[in-house]
Subunit: 330 residues, 2 copies
């Protein structure tokens, strides 16, 4: 199967695969804590539980899917290393997973990627190749590296091994907080939401699973309404992890398992991010704030229920915070 | 004993009192998690464990001491409520503790106190009285409130009930991480350091307990050297929680139980604060960064040891961060 991952990648993700992924990656990832806040509970009128994937290795849930993909490779597939393209957390996650397996990693990043994210990838020993900030340039650059090195491609989300890995956070979440009524998680390309939905509905079919995305990047909501994938274009949202379009694999699972998609304005995303920092003392990135932002805007009736929110990541450029410039004194 | 807490306040704090405090306050405080970071361990060459009191109620360890003091009061002492003066976390902590006991709280705050801290105190239902930003004005204002209301005074640190309460974090820390070789904690007025030292040395006399303070506010170090309390003056440090002078009760215990005081420059405090945000994804205030700052500057040989650090609080004005203005783009 070397050089052609289609048969495996196209297989549908099941609860059993998510459980197998969890066993496979357990030694390499953190079992992240679940936190709550009385201040937020009082404000929103329910019980909110936050799964802190911002405290995950590489600062994001992406460590789960990348480890599952890299550790799933046969010796022969793994030998020449792995390649991916990513503007952020997935690149660092693949770099770390490859380092843990002792194989090379090649990460294609857009020139526009945040410095902090480039440094994170390089820190784990990956070879970073910069390219123009378009999907076409990223794919072409990755393809050239595959041809030159024979490295195995790990897509950031449209890959069943990645999706199964991302779903492991939901397994832990439901062990840590078994009475959840709803799980909200951000949706960009859909790798996390699809894996989480398969895992959560598999464990407890009564559980509602809801995706949250920026109103300015509501391609998942529109895709579900249209019945086919509506491309994201180049959406103008601060939630830089959620600018991708759905893939065919993630779309199929989201269509089957996800109950609804809710959206949040840019203002609410910034407010939710800041509120999480101020009240919970947790550094989260804008993408991770989208579910809480949707709740702040009343997009989902909380009404006393136990609502689980996945804080998907905490990688943010501390020199470019989206608030307070004008309010800064000296 | 109403209106005169001297006999109780002057009693020396013992391990038994810290244990009793822990039982007393347990239902009202969080058992905060202990976190670690491979990045920081690699950088400093040891195993670092962080006790996350920034995740404590009111965002700081102060919730412990305030609850112990307020819950220790007799019905008669408590009836007219409690009064304190504080520029920050202790005021919010007393306000919360009083709310939990169902008695009034009066908090004297300097006009210069951060807005976020005034809001926190008011949020818990305390009556806030503003005064000039001098110790004399704070004490005089508190005295007037005592005379007008009969409320019971709870000093921010120089009170054995407060000190015993602050020491409870060390009990938890050693339960959570029994192999610690050293505990570092910030020192301002010394309420936390003295309580932590009594508790930690009581549990394990081999453990080293070290205070950390800004080099710009090194009155604790100078007091130990001089053998008497050297007043802090009005030290120019960003660590606003550590500007107080020691009290007679805290000084006596620190002298008896603390192994050393280390200092950190202002630059290292900012670096340690930012590093904690970036790597650990934890919002901490400058005072909480001082122990790590001292390690970054090599003030203590880490050398493979298990070093416990108390992250004392996370209340920081997000509009006034001490970095990155010039690096900020638009």
């Amino acid at each position: 199967m070397s050089g052609n991952d289609k048969p495996e990648a196209a297989s549908r993700v099941t609860l059993a695969e998510v459980r197998a992924a969890h066993e496979r990656i357990r030694a390499f990832i953190h079992r992240t804590p679940v936190m709550s806040s009385e201040v937020l509970d009082a404000r929103l009128g329910g019980r909110l539980y936050f799964k802190c994937e911002n405290l995950q290795r590489v600062g994001a849930f992406k460590a789960r899917g990348a480890h599952n993909a890299v550790l799933s490779l046969s010796e022969r597939e793994a030998r020449a290393g792995v390649v991916t393209h990513s503007s952020g957390n997935h690149g660092a996650a693949v770099a770390l997973a490859a380092a843990n397996r002792g194989i090379p990693a090649f990460v294609v990043m857009p020139l526009s990627a945040a410095e902090v994210k480039k440094r994170a990838v390089a820190r784990y020993g990956a070879q970073v190749t910069l390219c123009e900030p378009t999907l076409a340039a990223r794919e072409a650059t990755a393809q050239r590296i595959i041809e030159a090195t024979g490295a195995h491609f790990v897509h950031p989300y449209n890959d069943s091994r990645v999706m199964a890995g991302q779903g492991t956070s939901a397994l832990e979440f439901l062990e840590q907080q078994p009475d959840l009524d709803v799980i909200l998680c951000p949706v960009g390309g859909g790798g996390q939401l699809s894996g989480v939905a398969v895992a959560a509905k598999g464990v407890d079919p009564r559980l509602r699973v809801i995706g949250a995305e920026p109103a300015a990047a509501d391609d998942a909501r529109r895709s579900l309404e249209a019945g086919h994938i509506v491309p994201a274009g180049d959406p103008p949202t601060i939630a830089d992890g959620l600018r991708s379009s759905l893939g065919d694999l993630t779309f199929a699972l989201i269509r089957e398992h996800v109950d609804a998609i809710v959206t949040a304005s840019e203002e609410a995303i910034v407010e939710a991010m800041r509120l999480t920092w101020e009240v919970m003392k947790l550094v989260i990135e804008p993408s991770a704030a989208v579910p809480l932002a949707a709740l702040l805007e009343g997009r989902l009736e909380v009404g006393g229920r136990a609502v689980g929110i996945i804080l998907s990541g905490g990688n943010v450029d501390l020199d470019r915070l989206p608030w307070g410039q004008s309010a800064r004194p000296r």
